[in-house]
């Protein structure tokens, strides 16, 4: 009886957005009198930080710092339609809608600034700090604060824009299955290293090295929190979780966190995250949706590592000590 070590690899891809498309999202953007910008949506922030990312996307597009942007969302009286936050679609779909709305608002902003500066709007640029400058003559400038005041109280303009993003729905061909499920795919490769106690069947995940290709890390810190969390969830799926431990038998289902097993802080593997960025053709600044994908590759990587360690295949999830011990027993009887 011994502790045996093994490692396994898995490589995957994952589609962004609702399968087969047809899942629209809209956005509205307008300025306040003092040159802050409101993004109005009905998308839901699940805790992953959607509001923050929409603020950064709007800020980049208009050319102001992120803290000048407020996101008002998840209210059906004020926000235009969004299909919902699921299918790794939030950033991709709503982000595109926000870019379109922000571009329209930016154009009005530049037109008002052009009137104030007596130049052509096409000769203006933003400095990203809250000012509009004449290209090549940056000493000639106006603050966005003053542009907004002018638009509201002098020029009678609404600095606002409308955005909409929709990938037309694809219908699978009945006999061949020809279809367009998605417009872009994220990628991952995970290597997991485990120790398996062949006396107890217990698996310890020592470390996971995850490489994720996600199009564009719009906010690297938020990308990291999602990818690390996803990686832990993947390990938890592989080794711990089920509401029906003896599926298809309905008995013994957990009803609280004492019975429904998940890893505790001490069970978490050393987690390494490496991110590659191959921008998608139709994502906001090239972003894809990594939200779901990041919890997938750890499951087969751990399963393959368990085989590498003790030479038994557990093809039924979760890979519990009971299943490992039964397989080892069958192998020994062999």
């Amino acid at each position: 009886m011994a502790i045996r070590r093994g490692r396994g690899v898995a490589a995957i891809n994952y589609p962004t957005g609702m399968n087969l498309g047809g899942d629209p999202t809209q956005a509205l953007v307008h300025s306040t009198p003092t040159g802050n910008f409101m993004v109005t949506l009905s998308s839901v922030d699940l805790g992953q930080g959607m509001k923050q990312i929409m603020a950064q996307i709007c800020a980049e597009t208009i050319g102001v710092p992120t803290d000048r942007v407020i996101v008002d969302t998840a209210d059906t009286d004020t926000g235009p339609h969004c299909m919902g936050t699921f299918a790794s679609r939030g950033t991709h779909r709503a982000g595109n809608a926000v870019i379109q709305a922000a571009r329209e608002a930016r154009q009005v902003m530049l037109e008002v600034a052009a009137e104030e500066l007596e130049v052509n709007a096409s000769d203006l640029e933003t400095d990203g700090q809250g000012n509009i400058l004449v290209k090549g003559a940056p000493q000639k400038s106006i603050s966005i604060f003053d542009v907004a005041l002018s638009a509201h109280f002098k020029r009678g303009r609404s600095i606002s824009g409308r955005g909409m993003f929709l990938i037309p729905r694809s219908y699978p061909e009945k006999e061949t299955g020809a279809m367009k499920p998605s417009t872009c795919y994220a990628h991952a490769c995970t290597v997991a290293e485990v120790e398996v106690d062949d006396e107890t069947g217990e698996v310890t995940v020592l470390n996971v090295k995850n490489v994720f290709e996600i199009g564009r890390a719009l906010n690297p810190k938020m990308v990291e929190q999602q990818l690390v969390g996803g990686s832990w969830m993947g390990i938890s799926h592989a080794l711990y979780e089920t509401t029906e431990p003896y599926y298809p038998n309905r008995d013994h289902g957990g009803t609280d966190f004492n019975q429904y097993l998940m890893p505790g802080p001490g069970d978490l593997a050393e987690t390494e995250i490496i991110v590659l960025e191959r921008p998608s053709a139709d994502g906001p600044f090239g972003a894809k949706g990594p939200g779901e994908m990041c919890a997938n590759p750890q499951i087969p990587a751990v399963a393959n590592a368990v085989f590498d360690a003790v030479g038994v295949r557990i093809d039924t999830l979760p890979i519990t000590p009971e299943r490992i011990l039964r397989a080892l027993k069958a192998q020994a009887a062999g």
């Binding site: 891809n13 919902g84 279809m179 367009k180 779901e292 590759p297």
Partner: protein, 455 residues
């Protein structure tokens, strides 16, 4: 976390002001200091609490329901049964024309899974609602139940859901969603080895910190505001509008920050019945799942069975792959027909295989309806595919990582569902994993590229 900027640098514009910057989240201070408001922080004077009477049987006919004792219980304001729900039989994906309507808001004549909602009790306190729910008498005639997908698909199996007429979803393509590419039998005939394996998963709970729920307040003008943690505001509003036969203009949905979704909050379960309760009593209503309800009543990730048959050559090329996927929907569709279809689009994985045959089935059994969960349609498929890849590599005596390089898809490769590959990056992920994990592969694989001309 490390960003490896050397890859794909020619396709990317770096150096932007706000994008790519690790700005601190503006909502984080509120979350970590307990200041962020969630739906359950709404509290209205006179708010009622809703509790469900649930089926103790997996499959049963309802002979009679007696709510008289419950109605007399102190604190009880209203007891609702199927006849109170204007459009009681519904299905959520009807909004995107995926029918038929196959589920009841409150059971009508029959229950099809243990835990199914039968009677809703509205009372002044949670305790009174719970106690009154225990006094509802339901006379059941227990029916044979089926839990195993294979059993469910056999002729003569108990019929789970009459609205479907058979124990699987009927696609326009027939009993399963199909993908046909090349000639899979010819591929098997030329293969050096054939490997057929079966993979199985069990249902999984989303385990959000915040359980599913909503608070509904009448606005006093025949309009109702529903504070909810749904993941999809209009999707829920539009479904509630159908179920309640109320114009959407009478409904106002307010969300906010949600304490974790993972797909567990895209079913439309708590909102319609709570709005109905508020409408019929004229009082605010809250309906929040207990942790037990979250774990055993709300939809889990579907259990799946995946059978993969591969033909592989000694040089590492996979020449044929046949996948049969089964998704255990439980008693009702919810999002499972969509999930099974997503699986058909995902197989055979990120590999270029000339001959592919895919069938995916959505199967009904007498268990808690499954539905959306992070990656559903793909997650379990990836488990099966990637364990299979490991087995194939070992079968032909090849390094598992090198074996994947040989088969990895690259730009321009035709996928089984007949879309050319664009924006591939699997090879680069594997190259970086090889370095990070100190898992060396032959130089020719490290020189490959997802760009076609690159390698």
């Amino acid at each position: 976390m490390e960003l490896r900027k050397s890859y794909f640098a020619d396709q990317r514009k770096d150096g932007l002001n706000e994008i790519g910057q690790p700005r601190p989240r503006l909502d984080s201070p509120g979350h970590v200091t307990g200041k962020t408001a969630y739906f359950a922080d709404r509290n209205f004077p006179g708010m009622l609490h809703l509790k469900m009477v649930r089926s103790p049987h997996h499959h049963a006919r309802i002979r009679a329901i007696d709510t008289s004792e419950a109605e007399k219980h102190p604190g009880v304001v209203k007891v609702l049964t199927a006849k109170d729900v204007p459009h009681n039989v519904y299905t959520i994906l009807i909004l995107i024309q995926i029918g038929p309507e196959d589920e009841t808001v409150l059971a009508d004549g029959k229950v099809r899974w243990k835990g199914e909602a039968v009677v809703a009790v509205l009372a002044e306190t949670e305790r009174a609602a719970q106690e009154a729910a225990a006094k509802v008498k339901v006379d059941y005639e227990v029916l044979p139940a089926v839990f195993d997908m294979e059993e469910a698909l056999k002729p003569g199996a108990p019929l789970v859901n009459e609205y479907h007429g058979q124990n699987h979803y009927l696609y326009d393509s027939g009993e399963c969603r199909k993908v046909r590419f090349g000639d899979v039998e010819a591929g098997f005939a030329e293969a050096d080895h054939i490997l057929e394996q079966t993979y199985q998963s069990s249902p999984i709970e989303h385990a959000p910190t915040e359980t599913t729920g909503c608070v509904v307040a009448p606005e006093g003008n025949d309009r109702f505001t529903c504070y909810t943690n749904t993941q999809a505001m209009f999707f829920t509003l539009d479904n509630a509008s159908i179920i309640l036969q109320m114009p959407g203009s009478k409904l106002h949905f307010v969300g906010g920050t949600v304490g974790g979704g993972f797909g567990g909050k895209v079913d439309v379960i708590v909102e319609p019945i709570a709005i109905l309760g508020a409408k019929l009593t004229g009082r605010p209503v809250c309906f929040i799942y207990s942790r037990e309800e979250e774990m055993q009543i709300s939809s889990p990730r579907a259990a799946e069975k995946v059978v993969i048959k591969d033909g592989v050559m000694n040089d590492g090329r996979i020449v044929a792959r046949k996948v049969t996927g089964y998704t255990d929907a439980g008693a009702y569709s919810r999002h499972s027909p969509y999930g099974a279809q997503k699986g058909a689009a995902h197989y055979p994985g990120p590999y270029t295989i000339p001959n592919v045959w895919i069938d995916t089935y959505c199967v009904y059994t007498n268990r808690t309806p499954s539905s959306a969960m992070r990656g559903f349609g793909v997650t379990i498929g990836d488990f099966a595919l990637e364990v299979q890849m490991d087995k194939l590599a070992r079968l032909i005596g090849m390094d598992p990582l090198e074996f994947r390089f040989i088969n990895a898809y690259r730009d321009g490769d035709m996928k089984a569902h007949r879309q050319p590959t664009e924006g591939a990056a699997l090879i680069e992920c594997m190259q970086e994993a090889s370095r990070a994990a100190n898992w060396p592969v032959a130089e020719k694989f490290m020189a490959m590229s997802s760009y076609r001309k690159g390698g």
